[in-house]
């Protein structure tokens, strides 16, 4: 049963074109993204009365950026669920608008991990966390955590490296049409298998790019959205959760998408078969496969077969995904891919994706994100968006 009969809409979306910005500050990138999203919406800075950001924003929560942008807000929030934060923030903005706490919400993301030399092999344990003494000595990074996830899925379900490679192949098919994508060359399954092993069973081409840049979204009260000239993209379903080691009962083959996805589908009153386009968080190929299973696009364990043979390629397969090239080929700004997942879903619903990858009559889309590390603890957030 839909709980929002007239939900807030995404009225502005902007992806920064840069992929390397050594000459810009993080705050500057946030502000450029904010200006881009406002221009896209046809709104002015002074229309904004709520600001949402996450851990990539410099300063104490949202305060430094509200100051830098010179906003006057009556609502602010800085939830940090890692890379999926921006999907959660869209839902929080929608709900804050429904509660009467604001009318026009600005959400920004930006970062420069490429200029600052970050990589997926960098140890990621944070000092001072309760888990640090139990993780820091062991060299947990992003890629070896996801390597364990892939290893376990292969063990339980017979998933192969060839099947994982199909996810990268599909992303590259889409990225060839995106002039801003970091990696625009078509790749084959064999190319992925021939790329260097980074942390078994994951190869270099199973991993997303590291890019500078950012993005921004504007969520507005439906009355305001209808007064603008942009197609209406309604936020009809949302779910979020945090999944973790469950006190030692570790299960590496199920993600939080099993919970956040079910909640979003229930709220929207639709089912996976209704979805015409899906943005699926793609920090690694295995990340995509697990979320597709947990969202119900296929049964648990059948993700390998589902993604094979081009099933994720727009115009070819059953479920077009990440038609901008995703994190695997296009962009993963601030090591947080959730913002660009929402942006490409908005493009698809507006009919503004590249013509070569635009899904015909795309009326219902899903955007799904993971933040943190699937091997230890992670956030998951799901959005279901509808064109009106």
């Amino acid at each position: 049963m839909p709980i929002h009969p007239d939900p807030a809409c995404i009225v502005g979306a902007f992806e920064h074109p840069t992929r390397k910005a050594p000459d810009k500050t993080v705050a500057q990138l946030h502000a450029e993204c904010a200006a881009g999203a406002l221009a896209d919406a046809g709104l002015a800075k002074d229309n904004v009365d709520a600001y949402f950001c996450s851990g990539d924003a410099p300063g104490m929560g949202p305060t430094s950026m509200i100051d830098y942008l010179n906003l006057r807000v009556r609502h602010s929030e800085s939830t940090d669920l890692g890379g999926c934060s921006y999907l959660a923030l869209v839902a929080h903005a929608r709900d804050a608008i429904a509660a009467g706490r604001c009318d026009v919400a600005l959400i920004t993301l930006a970062g420069r991990p490429r200029s600052e030399g970050h990589s997926g092999t960098t140890p990621r344990t944070r000092a001072g966390t309760p888990e640090a003494p139990w993780e820091a000595p062991y060299g947990l990074s992003t890629v070896n955590g996801y390597g364990m996830v892939a290893q376990r899925h292969m063990h339980e379900f017979g998933t192969t490296s060839e099947q994982l490679a199909w996810i990268k192949v599909a992303a590259s098919q889409h990225a060839q049409h995106n002039p801003h994508a970091m990696l625009r060359d078509l790749v084959t399954v064999q190319d992925v298998l021939d790329s260097p092993l980074i942390s078994d069973p994951l190869h270099r081409l199973d991993c997303c790019v590291v890019s500078d840049g950012g993005g921004a979204l504007i969520v507005a009260r439906p009355e305001i959205a209808r007064s603008l000239k942009r197609p209406l993209v309604r936020v009809i379903g949302a779910g979020e959760t945090v999944r973790h080691g469950r006190a030692g009962n570790v299960d590496l083959t199920t993600t939080g998408a099993a919970w956040s996805g079910a909640a979003a589908f229930a709220q929207a009153g639709v089912k996976p078969a209704d979805i015409r386009y899906a943005s699926i968080y793609d920090s690694f190929t295995i990340t995509v496969l697990l979320q597709l299973e947990d969202l119900g696009f296929c049964k648990k364990g059948e993700g390998g077969r589902f993604v094979a043979d081009g099933n994720l390629i727009s115009g070819v397969g059953r479920l077009p995904f990440n038609t901008d090239g995703g994190g695997l080929c296009n962009n993963h700004p601030a090591n947080r891919g959730g913002m660009t997942k929402v942006i490409e879903a908005v493009r698809q619903l507006r009919g503004e994706a590249h013509p070569a990858v635009q899904v015909k009559d795309c009326g219902l889309a899903l955007a799904q994100g993971i933040g943190g590390n699937l091997a230890t603890r992670h956030g998951s957030a799901t959005l279901i968006l509808e064109r009106q």
Binding site: T121, P123, A127, P130, E131, A132, P133, W134, E135, A136, P137, Y138, G139, L140, S141, V143, N144, G145, G147, M148, V149, A150, Q151, R152, H155, P196, L197, I198, S199, D200, P201, L202, G245, A247, G248, N249, V250, L252, T376
Partner: protein, 145 residues
């Protein structure tokens, strides 16, 4: 595999008893006097029932590999893993004393301690029976979950 210097775990009020036992070569697990369950990673309140009546008991030190991945693109490659202890919980660890190609899920392993860069002993696992690094063994998880 050559030696990798383990980063220091740091000692906190919640870890000092564990570290003290590790210095004596013993792997300890926290058990709850109220719900009767153990957990990982160790903490001051039982994550199952919130009781503070936790006590340390020596673990068998035996387990099986739940999953593993060997990071190649670093100065000294090393193997990250989850080991499911015979008592039930799975713990993050490193696998040592076998080539990267020698590990597989379900393999029987046994704890040993390696000194971190500051000398703190850290629990890592190696094949349970040297010379038979292919022997799989049922995990004897004995606790209700």
């Amino acid at each position: 595999m050559s030696e990798r210097l383990l980063p220091a775990p740091g000692v906190t009020p919640e870890t000092e008893a564990f570290v003290a036992a590790a210095r004596a070569g013993r792997l300890m697990l926290p058990w709850c006097a109220d719900c009767g369950r153990t957990h990982w990673y160790p903490r001051a309140l039982c994550p199952h029932c919130s009781s503070t009546r936790l006590h340390w008991k020596p673990a068998s030190g035996r387990g099986t590999v739940y999953s593993h991945s060997t990071l190649q693109r670093v100065a000294v490659p090393f193997t990250l893993a989850y080991v499911t202890l015979d008592e039930g919980p799975s713990m993050l660890t490193n696998l040592v004393d076998a080539p990267a190609s020698g590990w597989h899920i379900g393999m029987a392993v046994r704890v040993q301690f390696q000194a971190a860069e500051d000398g703190t002993p850290v629990a890592v696992f190696s094949p349970d029976q040297p010379g038979s690094a292919g022997l799989a063994r049922e995990s004897g998880g004995g606790i209700a979950r």
